[in-house]
Every structure is written in C-alpha cells, then in structure tokens.
C-alpha cells in the first residue's frame, strides 16, 4: 500500500483528500503545516507528498525545496488556491512534479499521483 503525505492547513480539505485517497487504496498521513509535514516525511518515508502552498510555520515551496534538496527524485505535488505566477514559477524551479490549481477534480489528482509514483 502506497503512503501519501498530505500537507494542508484547511482541515475540511485535508480530511476530504484523506477520505478520497483511502477509498482508492492509499495510506494517508496528514500534516496541517509545512514544518510538521517535513518531520513526518523524515519519520515515515512516504511514497509521495501532496502539499498546499500557503501554510503556517513553513510554506509548501520551502517544504518542496527541503525535500528535493535531500531527495531530488522524490515526487511532490503542489496545490494552490491562487495561481500566482511567482509561486508557480518557484514551484517549477524547485522541480515540483505537478502543480494543481484549486478547485481541481480528485480523479485528476489520483491519476497524477499514480503517474508520479510509477515514475
């Protein structure tokens, strides 16, 4: 069973993603900020990280940079509520595997996750 680490500060969104991915057979680990996500990533060694950009304590871009610095090939999918060119550019520069603009369809998310893990 593949482990997905979800970093999202919005509680409802976080639980919705968990419920949806679990129904598709994934094991989901939840974190409500970037810093907690980084600690859990090191602790549980998940197969993929799904992170929002705007989060307290540590934002999604910084989490992405830290993970890629340690494991450049590790798959990270970035979600954003506002498509700001600057943040998108930073995410691209930091080699995010995919950038999803909210609201997105969960089926599309599952497809991207499956593609990223296979890769």
């Amino acid at each position: 069973m593949k482990k997905i680490l979800v970093a999202e500060d919005e509680k409802v969104m976080r639980y919705m993603i968990r419920d949806f991915l679990e129904s598709f057979g994934f094991e989901v680990i939840l974190a409500d900020n970037g810093l907690e996500a980084y600690v859990l990533w090191k602790q549980y060694s998940p197969d993929l990280v799904l992170t929002d950009i705007n989060m307290p304590k540590m934002n999604g871009i910084d989490l992405l940079k830290k993970i890629k610095h340690i494991k450049p090939e590790f798959p990270v999918i970035v979600m954003t509520g506002v498509t700001i060119e600057k943040s998108v550019k930073l995410a691209e520069e930091s080699q995010a595997n995919a950038i999803l603009e909210k609201p997105f369809k969960m089926k599309d998310l599952v497809t991207i996750i499956n593609q990223s893990i296979v890769i």
Binding site: K11, M16, I17, P56, K105
Partner: protein
C-alpha cells in the same frame, strides 16, 4: 709576769680613763651612729697650723688636733680647702679666711698671739714698712693698717729673719710659735729689735658649718677632755721640737759662712748654667712646641678646609645633578671631566663611560672649537648653539654658557651649562608648519565659502522651493520660486518690504501666528509650519515652511523656505487610494484562496459520493449535476475576481503571514 700584769693594768686604767672622760647622751650617740666620716674645711697655706705639704697632704698642729679629736670619737675625718667644693663640709677650721663661716664656734683649744718686730723703733701706720712674714698672709687681719704695704712672704723663718735684719724699714710679723725661734736667732746674732706683742689674737677653733647643737656639744666635750689631758699641748710641743731642728741648722750657718758662700757661688753658677741651659732648652722646646702646635693648628685647619671643600663639592654635585640643564666640565683638550645626571637623562649616555672621552666624539663638526672659544656673544643667537649627538644617534640642539676654572692641580677646565632647545625648535617648526597649514586652510575655506556663496546664490535663485528672508515678517529678499508659488510676476511686481503674512489667507493668520510665536517662545532655532498660501484666482495651496533664524549683515533675520506640498499631498492621496486598492485586492486574493479550498472540498466530497453511488436515481443524477454546475459558476466568479486583481497578484507574496485572516471563525466552527 708581774711587769706584764702591771702593764695590762695600766692599759686598762688608760682605756677606762679615756672611756670615762666624756659621756655621750642618746641623741649624740645617734648622730655619731649616722655619720661615719666628717669633712673639715681647712686653710691650705697656714704653716705650721694647717697646710698642704709637698705630697698634697694636709699637715699641721690643727690637723693633728682634729685627727686626735675624731679618733676619740672613733670616726674618720677628711679635709678639704676653700678651692674645693665646700658644700658637703661639716666643720670649718678657724684659720679659714672665709668670714661667712665664723658665726658659730666651739671652745678654742689654743690661742695664737702675734708679735711685730721692727728694725726701726718707730712703728707707725703712716710710715711705709716692708712686712716680712712666714707663709701666712695675715697682714689684713693682724695689721690692717699696713695691709697696703709691701709684703714678703717666706717659707722659712730664718730666711725671713735674715732679710728682715737687712731692711731698715722691715717689719717682721711672727706668731708666738715662731717668736721663740726669732728670739734664739736674735740671741745668736747679738741683735735686738723693737719687740711688740700685737693686740690681735687668733684662737684655734673649730667652727660648725650649720647650727648643729648636738655636734657642737660633742666637740666641746672632746676638746675639753683633750685640754684636760694636755693632749693639745703635747701636739703643739711636738711641732715646736720639729721647728727647733731647723733652727739648729740655722745656728751653724755663720760658722760655715765662707764655705757656704763658696758653695752658694758655685750653686748659683750651676743654677745660672742650668737656668740658661733650661732657658735655651725651654726656648727650643717651646719653639718646637710652638711649631708643633702651629703645625697641629694648620693640620686641623687643613682638615677642616678639606671637610668644607668635600662638603661643598658634594653640595655642588648634588646641585648640578638636580639641574634640569646639562652641566659639563671639559679640559682644554676637550676631554670630558664631569657630567651631571641630566647629561645621561637627556642624551642617554652612561655617565661613567662618557667621562674621559673627548667631547669632539659627540659634537657636530666645528662645535668643539666653538665651545672651547668660551663665552659666546649672546647677542648672536645662532653662535650660542651647539648640536650634540645622543646615544641613540639623534642630534639635539643646545644653547650653552661657559666659564673657566682652575683645579687644585693647576689645570684649566671649562665648565659648560647646556640647555636643551631641541624641543623648542621642534615646537617652533611645528608651530610654523601649523601656521602655514592654518593659512592654507583659511585660503581653502575662503574659497569654499566663496563657492558656497555662489552655490547658495545659485540654489536660492534656481531653487524650486520659495526662499524668503524677512525681518518681523517684512520681506527683505525672495527668490523666483517664491514668486512662482504665490503666483506673482517678479518682473511686474516686487514683494520686497511687504508683509509675509499677506501671502497667507486672512482666516489662517491667527493659527499661523500662534504656531510661530509658540516656536519662537520655546527658543527653537529651527521649526516647520504647514500652512496655506494664497495664489492667484483666490486659490490656496498647502506649503510647508521651514523657519530658521540667521545673522545677516549684523541683523537677525528669519529665513523661510517654502516647499509646495500640493504634489506631495496629491501623492499621499494617491497612495491612500492605492493602499485601499491593495487591501481590497489582498482581500480578494485571500478570499479566492480561502474559498477555493472549501470549494475543492465540496467538489471532492461530491465526487466521492458520486463514485461511491453506483446506481443513481434521476433525482440524484440531477442533484450531482446541479452541484457541479454551481461549483462551476462559483469558480467562474472567482476567476473574474482574480482577473480584476491581476496587478496585485503579480506582486502578491504568498507568505502566509501577510494573508488576511478572514476564515478563523469559519474554520473554528467546522472543527
């Protein structure tokens, strides 16, 4: 045996007689018990009664009486004479001439009578007599009328008698003791002279120094006992016998006259020879003594002088060592003989090693000759300076003063006093350099000031800010910009000597003057007032005026720099509008972001339900479609909102801290 027992009995009788002769009461015994030795003051020159013999021992009739007296009392006795200390004496002999002791007396133990023998029958006080006497100078006491006459005192009665017989005015003064001898001499020489017993008598007595009644009684008792036993008579007769032996010799004198004369001549010759020999020897010795003592004095004097010189030298060295200037002594060859402490302090040389070296080694070339030439002309300042090389190799300049001195060995030395002026020269040079620097600085400053003035003038003339110089609000000078601000054509109208208040709207005068006066009363040198000024067409503009008090041509003027803040205010308004826009945009962005997440949750859960509901009714299908359509509509509205705030979004910082917290309550409710 019988003779022995008779002798013992006799002795016992004598002892008993002596012991029973006088009795002492308890008080007298107590006094004697307290005193072991008694001291008697006697005359040192009163033969045969009391006198000092050749061994400096007291002898005489009285002395023997005193000794016998204190022997009876079993106490020791010592004698002293007037020249010695008389403070601790107990008793005084009557022959002591000091009258102050003659207040108290004991009983006299014998009396001395005096006889005056004269070669001339008439003894008269008006006539000059030559008085001959034996040892004792008693003429004042015995013959006070002849006290001023010429007196001859002899040690021997026969010699006195001999000289007396040959003097027509002679007067021989003898006591009864010597009277018998003189009588015998007269008998021998078949001569007779007038013979008169004098009224004056002297009693041999023992006086008490103090009124000690007990001691007086003791002595009286003992003397009475001695007189009773004829002991004193025995003592006197013993002395008479001694004197008679001398007289026997005198009796043969004439029989051996020729022999005596011969021997006398011989003796005199020997004496004269001895005298001359002694005199010569004495002279020689005296001369030697004189020379020795003179030498001694000279040596002492010399020693004293040496000490004084040594002290003076020491003092001089101390004084020289305490001098801040260098003291230097050199000989005529330039060899250093002395340097003081300042020499090592200033020049760094070791004083012990430098002495003996030549001054030329440390002087600059030519300065040695200058120094040896002595006493330079002080009016020529440069001639008075020499340069000395220090131990570190630096050259130091000194002014010097010199003089000659001669040593004990006769050598000529030159004493120099050197004053270090290197520092003064250095200071002079520095001062000169500083003066030059200051002059240069003044030149530069003057130039800068000129440039500043020109720049200031240029700035004032071409400044965008209005600049006004005024006194009591009366405009003295105003630049072009001021004219432009207040909308007056400077070519047509001059604002000089008009009131600055004229450019301020009437209704603002009060507020402006209050602010101005408050600032000046608080002695603020510089302050800013924001106020309005009237411009053409009854319009006003906002200006910010910077007031400063300045001195200008000995007058205190107010410099007012007016800055048009209309543009600034417009920019402020624009900035506020922009801020408002940014706030709205930020809100829109935040709202967009915060709406998108729950919207995505709704979409996600709808999808989940849609997936999980395999067989849907028509109503359920319509409901899912309606939800998806509604979400699409919301998403379109959000996209439109997003496009409206596009500009803001480009600069949007996605840092969460800057996002507006609009969802706290919402989130908390759903938690």
């Amino acid at each position: 045996m019988k003779r022995k027992s008779v002798l013992i009995l006799l002795l016992l009788l004598i002892v008993c007689a002596n012991s029973l002769a006088f009795e002492l009461n308890d008080l007298e015994k107590k006094l004697l018990a307290e005193r072991k030795v008694f001291k008697i003051l006697v005359s040192p020159n009163n033969y045969p009664y009391e006198y000092l013999n050749s061994n400096d021992e007291f002898e005489g009739i009285n002395i023997d009486v005193y000794r016998a007296l204190f022997h009876k009392l079993n106490r020791k006795v010592s004698f002293t004479h007037e020249d010695e200390s008389i403070y601790d004496i107990d008793l005084v002999s009557s022959f002591v001439t000091n009258q102050r002791f003659q207040d108290l007396s004991t009983n006299s133990f014998f009396t001395v009578y005096y006889y005056a023998l004269s070669t001339n029958l008439n003894i008269s006080s008006t006539k000059q007599h030559n008085i001959y006497m034996i040892k004792q100078d008693l003429s004042k006491t015995i013959l006070p009328e002849f006290a001023s006459n010429k007196q001859f005192i002899y040690s021997d009665i026969s010699l006195a008698y001999h000289d007396f017989t040959n003097d027509r005015n002679g007067l021989l003064l003898v006591d009864n003791f010597h009277k018998t001898i003189v009588d015998e001499l007269m008998q021998m020489s078949n001569k007779s002279f007038s013979n008169k017993r004098l009224n004056t008598e002297i009693d041999a007595k023992l006086w008490l120094k103090n009124e000690d009644r007990t001691l007086y009684l003791i002595i009286t008792k003992v003397l009475n006992e001695m007189l009773y036993n004829n002991e004193i008579t025995c003592i006197v007769s013993n002395w008479e016998k001694k004197s008679n032996k001398k007289v026997l010799f005198e009796r043969n004198y004439e029989q051996f006259y020729v022999i005596s004369f011969f021997f006398t001549i011989l003796f005199i010759a020997v004496i004269i020879l001895l005298y001359y020999y002694n005199v010569m020897k004495k002279d020689l010795i005296l001369n030697s003594y004189d020379t020795i003592s003179r030498n001694k004095e000279l040596m002492l004097h010399n020693h004293d002088l040496k000490l004084i010189i040594s002290q003076m030298e020491q003092e001089n060295v101390t004084v020289l060592n305490n001098l801040s200037n260098i003291a230097l002594t050199i000989d005529l060859k330039g060899t250093i003989r002395f340097v003081n402490k300042s020499f090592s302090d200033i020049l760094g040389y070791n004083n012990h090693t430098i002495i003996g070296t030549n001054i030329d080694d440390i002087l600059q070339h030519g300065d040695t000759v200058k120094l040896l030439s002595l006493n330079p002309d002080s009016s020529q300042k440069q001639e008075n300076e020499i340069v000395i090389k220090s131990a570190e190799g630096f050259y130091k300049t000194f002014i010097y003063n010199t003089n000659f001195s001669k040593t004990v060995d006769g050598e000529t030395n030159i004493n120099c006093i050197l004053q270090d002026i290197s520092e003064r020269i250095s200071l002079d040079n520095r001062l000169e350099a500083y003066t030059t620097h200051l002059e240069e600085l003044i030149k530069q400053r003057t130039q800068v000031l000129k440039q500043s003035e020109e720049q200031f003038r240029f700035i004032v003339e071409h400044a965008y800010d209005g600049i006004v110089l005024m006194q009591n609000f009366k405009i003295q000078l105003a630049n072009q910009a001021f004219y432009q601000i207040v909308g007056v054509d400077s070519d047509k109208e001059s604002l000089d000597n008009t009131s600055f208040l004229n450019v301020i709207p009437q209704d603002e005068h009060k507020e402006f003057l209050e602010t101005f006066n408050n600032a000046t009363n608080n002695k603020e040198e510089s302050f800013i007032i924001v106020h309005k000024v009237s411009v053409s067409g009854n319009k006003t503009i906002d200006v910010e005026t910077h007031f400063t008090s300045i001195n200008y041509s000995d007058k205190i003027l107010e410099l007012a720099i007016l800055h048009n803040i209309e543009e600034k205010k417009a920019k402020e308004r624009e900035l506020i509008e922009h801020e408002k826009f940014l706030t709205v945009s930020s809100f829109a962005i935040t709202a967009n972001d915060k709406i998108n997440s729950p919207l995505n949750a709704i979409l996600g859960y709808t999808e989940l339900l849609d997936v999980q509901t395999e067989k849907k009714t028509k109503t359920q299908r319509n409901a899912f479609d309606n939800i998806y359509e509604s979400i699409g509509i919301i998403q379109k509205i959000l996209n439109q909102l997003k496009s409206m705030t596009k500009v803001t979004m480009e600069n949007y910082n996605f840092d969460n801290q800057k996002m507006l917290k609009i969802d706290d309550e919402y989130t908390d409710e759903h938690k």
